[in-house]
């Protein structure tokens, strides 16, 4: 594989990942604490109507782009003659095991985005019909899924940046 092609692939993966995880950290470190104050003084609508839906749009599609570019990078750059790179990583085989751990964590995070965070945020933000009880429950599930992803992002990034022989510095 041409090194330039692999470099471009990794570059696109990092760009998408920054967009995804940057917005994840924005939600957890800025928006959620900020909304508590905004609810108290009646200014939350500006965030929930104009900011949150736009941030969630970039967030969920950046998650997909990150996963796809990551899978493509594994496929092109981590295979052997006997097994392709995606299979090697997800089966935690040999030198692909460390980055495979990162790939598993990223995949769990992608699942959380689409199966837990987005469906429940649609209820909370009023994008779909939901009772007050469903909104309260949905807010709790979305918060815990988002916090879980923030927690998982820490080991995920560790294994992504140290798990590849190309830039791991011999850690594994």
């Amino acid at each position: 594989m041409d090194p330039l092609f692999l470099a471009i692939e990794r570059w696109l993966h990092v760009l998408a990942g920054i967009t995804w995880i940057g917005l994840l950290y924005y939600f957890n470190f800025v928006q959620v604490p900020g909304l508590a104050g905004a609810n108290a003084d009646g200014t939350a609508a500006g965030i929930t109507k104009h900011i949150a839906p736009r941030a969630l749009l970039w967030f969920r599609w950046a998650a997909v782009a990150t996963w796809l570019t990551g899978a493509a990078y594994l496929l092109l750059g981590h295979g052997t003659g006997e097994m392709n790179g995606v299979a090697r990583a997800f089966m935690l085989q040999g030198s692909a095991a460390p980055i495979g751990v990162g790939a598993w964590l990223g995949t769990i995070m992608l699942f959380n985005v689409w199966a837990l965070i987005w469906p429940n945020q649609k209820k909370v933000l009023g994008l779909v019909e939901a009772s007050d009880e469903e909104k309260v429950k949905g807010a709790r599930v979305a918060l815990l899924a988002s916090r879980t992803n923030t927690m998982l992002s820490i080991p995920m990034l560790f294994f992504m940046i140290t798990g590849s022989p190309a830039h791991g510095g011999g850690l594994f």
């Binding site: 957890n28 470190f29 604490p33 935690l92 040999g94 030198s95 095991a97 460390p98 751990v101 815990l144 916090r147 879980t148 923030t150 927690m151 998982l152 992002s153 820490i154 080991p155 560790f158 294994f159 594994f172």
Partner: protein, 31 residues
């Protein structure tokens, strides 16, 4: 017992601990 994910500090601490646990596991059993 309080859920550590209810606070930012608990979330980050949990992530760091999980990183250490996975590092030991990968280093000791997979590579």
């Amino acid at each position: 017992m309080k859920n550590p994910l209810d606070s930012i500090t608990g979330t980050i601490t949990s992530g760091v601990v999980l990183t250490l646990v996975l590092y030991v596991f990968v280093k000791g059993f997979l590579v």
